[in-house]
């Protein structure tokens, strides 16, 4: 049971995991993550990879939209840029995966800066529409620049190889995904312990007074776009290497909306929330699919409802969370934690 804190240094007061209890649970989490692939079947491994890849993308979007307040409808396209960069580099230039990964991130970041740079002057809905245009234009390029992207047929690649190990199944890939998720989540969390993260939140809350406090709006908005789309690029690169193929239909506008839904459901401006959101939004459609699968015996055409039902449920989740629980699952999680804080002696 956790009773109270006694801290002697500022460092211990500002640590992310402030006490032994929370550090203990972190340890438990790591052990579970390490044991997980050895005990579960193929399907759960596949899902775990998918969730991990989505988490990286969601953390990126949450930094930009949730923390820095710059709404983006083009996140899927930035993920796509990363994915295509990875596919082109590996299929044409036989570039090793460990080089492809950062390069895809950088390529996405570059696109993010190009789109986001002018955002210094664009506010709210104007920015939203500019990113929407970027999404549509990039989608067009994915489809129509056939010599480079392979058009609607896309590009197939061979499985990635790291230090001589070929990651040709979900089990091996899992370790790569988990490592990258941990790195990205830690880096994002770190960022918000320094002046850079504080500047993001200040820009979100009141951009004008932030500037009077000495924060260069141009620089920090550009940073936010760069970090966010870098992570999108990593996510895209992983995605493409995981599926070993890339086609334009992976990155439609709807996917951007799905990412926005994730960070809303999870909790805007919360790194933990991005994780919750990514898990939730990947598991829920699978849940719908399996429920419909059970119904097929009764209603033979149940599966044709899969896509529209997912649509309706995404929409409902967005609306319900924004109306009733604007801080998302992260806030619910915090309340549960507080409830058990002094449990069973909470009076």
């Amino acid at each position: 049971m956790y009773i109270g804190d006694f801290k002697e240094t500022y460092a211990s007061d500002q640590a992310v995991f402030v006490n032994t209890t929370s550090r203990f649970w972190l340890g438990v989490l790591f052990v579970l993550l390490a044991v997980f692939p050895f005990v579960v079947g193929d399907y759960l491994l596949f899902m775990a990879n998918l969730i991990g890849i989505t988490i990286i993308g969601a953390v990126g979007l949450n930094i930009l939209t949730g923390c820095a307040g710059q709404i983006s409808l083009g996140h899927a396209a930035f993920i796509g840029v990363g994915g295509y960069t990875a596919a082109i580099l590996s299929s044409r230039f036989n570039m090793p995966f460990l080089l492809c990964l950062p390069l895809s991130g950088c390529m996405s970041a570059a696109f993010g800066i190009i789109v986001g740079g002018p955002s210094l002057r664009l506010k709210g809905m104007y920015l939203c529409i500019a990113t929407l245009s970027a999404q549509l234009i990039l989608e067009f390029v994915f489809v129509h620049w056939e010599s480079m992207t392979g058009g609607i047929r896309g590009i197939n690649i061979s499985p990635p190889q790291i230090f001589g190990v070929v990651l040709d199944n979900d089990f091996k890939f899992y370790f790569l995904t988990v490592t990258l998720v941990i790195i990205c989540v830690t880096a994002a969390r770190n960022l918000f312990r320094t002046r850079v993260g504080r500047a993001f939140i200040a820009i979100r809350d009141r951009d004008i007074s932030a500037e009077l406090m000495g924060i260069s709006l141009l620089r920090y908005k550009t940073y936010a776009f760069a970090v966010s789309s870098f992570m999108a690029g990593l996510s895209g690169c992983l995605w493409v290497n995981f599926l070993k193929t890339v086609t334009p239909e992976h990155f439609p506008l709807l996917e951007s909306v799905r990412y926005l839904a994730m960070i809303i459901v999870g909790g805007m401006g919360s790194i933990l929330g991005s994780i919750f959101g990514a898990v939730f939004m990947t598991v829920v459609p699978e849940g719908i699919k399996s429920i419909l699968g059970l119904l097929v015996s009764v209603f033979p055409n149940a599966m044709s409802f899969l896509f529209p039902l997912q649509q309706v449920i995404f929409g409902l989740l967005i609306v319900i969370f924004l109306v009733f629980e604007p801080h998302g699952l992260a806030e619910i999680w915090r309340r549960i934690k507080n409830y058990f804080h002094l449990w069973p002696f909470d009076h």
């Binding site: 002018p118 104007y126 529409i129 004008i208 309706v312 967005i318 924004l322 109306v323």
Partner: protein, 294 residues
């Protein structure tokens, strides 16, 4: 030269129809400052309801139109009361996201009800194309344009002279002042949503009549954004002008560039224009830069 004139004139007609849809956006934005991403879906729902009335119930269009207007008004008012009312005072991002969520719900529902296949309307207008000199105009397009312009004109007149229109303008101008003048601001919000939904769904019927209807018809709603950025977010006349420009740009791009890119440029061109405009003028062509206070 023939092709050019042909493209310009059909672009002009399409633009008039876009103007009506953009009006559905502007009416809501003007009164409530809400960016409605679900305008396109209102349009699609309107088209489907009309289709159902015509095909399943075999009603005459003269009964169908008023019924669609009633349904759309109910839908708009319902959305405002059930969802947007709870979002008053929330940050912009959340409100934009709620309308995106709404569009997702409507799209899914439409596909569940009507399926994803493509349906075409029974003929509404005489099929004979309109021929002006060397220009040939498709009859659906021409009569659709005429209808759109009539509806836009009706809205303009209502906005300018009717009591409810004046109250809406007052609300748009200054909510607090309107409130203290005895205008029920919340009712005005509901009415604006109803009006917006009506304009959008009538636009949807016209578009559906030209090209058929399917759940993704709502994607045409995205074209509203180039239109309103061109025309200014809260100006009805601006929406009309923006609609014409986008219609013409789109047709020219489609006519001259599509052959080189195997299609797709037509829908993309307005967004490229839009990005250029935003780079040069961050508040749109006719938008006013707000004086910010501390």
């Amino acid at each position: 030269m023939d092709i050019f004139l042909q493209l310009i004139s059909s672009g002009f007609l399409v633009g008039g129809i876009y103007a009506l849809i953009a009006l559905g956006f502007v009416l809501i934005y003007k009164a409530t400052n809400i960016i409605n991403f679900a305008t396109g879906e209102f349009m699609m729902i309107g088209a489907y309801i009309f289709y159902s009335l015509m095909v399943y119930l075999e009603l005459s269009p003269f009964v169908g139109f008023p019924l669609v207007i009633v349904c759309a008004a109910l839908l708009g008012a319902l959305v405002e009361r059930l969802i947007l009312r709870h979002m008053l005072g929330q940050p912009n991002i959340s409100i934009i996201m709620v309308t995106i969520g709404l569009s997702s719900i409507l799209l899914g529902l439409a596909e569940m009800i009507w399926g994803s296949s493509f349906r075409s309307f029974p003929p509404l207008f005489p099929r004979k194309p309109i021929i002006l000199g060397e220009i040939v105009l498709r009859s659906n397009l021409f009569y659709g344009f005429v209808m759109a312009m009539v509806v836009v004109a009706v809205f303009l007149i209502v906005f300018k002279y009717a009591k409810v229109g004046v109250a809406m303008r007052a609300t748009a101008n200054d909510q607090v002042a309107a409130f203290s003048m005895g205008i029920n601001v919340k009712t005005m919000f509901t009415i604006s949503w109803a009006f917006g939904a009506i304009a959008a769904s009538l636009g949807g019927i016209i578009i559906g009549n030209i090209g058929g209807v399917q759940p993704t018809l709502g994607h045409i709603g995205l074209k509203i954004f180039p239109i309103v950025i061109l025309g200014g977010l809260d100006s009805i006349i601006g929406a009309v002008i923006g609609g014409f420009i986008v219609g013409i740009v789109e047709n020219l791009a489609g006519g001259y560039l599509d052959p080189y890119f195997y299609g797709g440029v037509k829908d993309l061109a307005p967004f490229i224009v839009l990005l250029f405009i935003l780079f040069i003028k961050p508040y749109g062509l006719f938008g006013t830069k707000e004086i910010e206070r501390l």
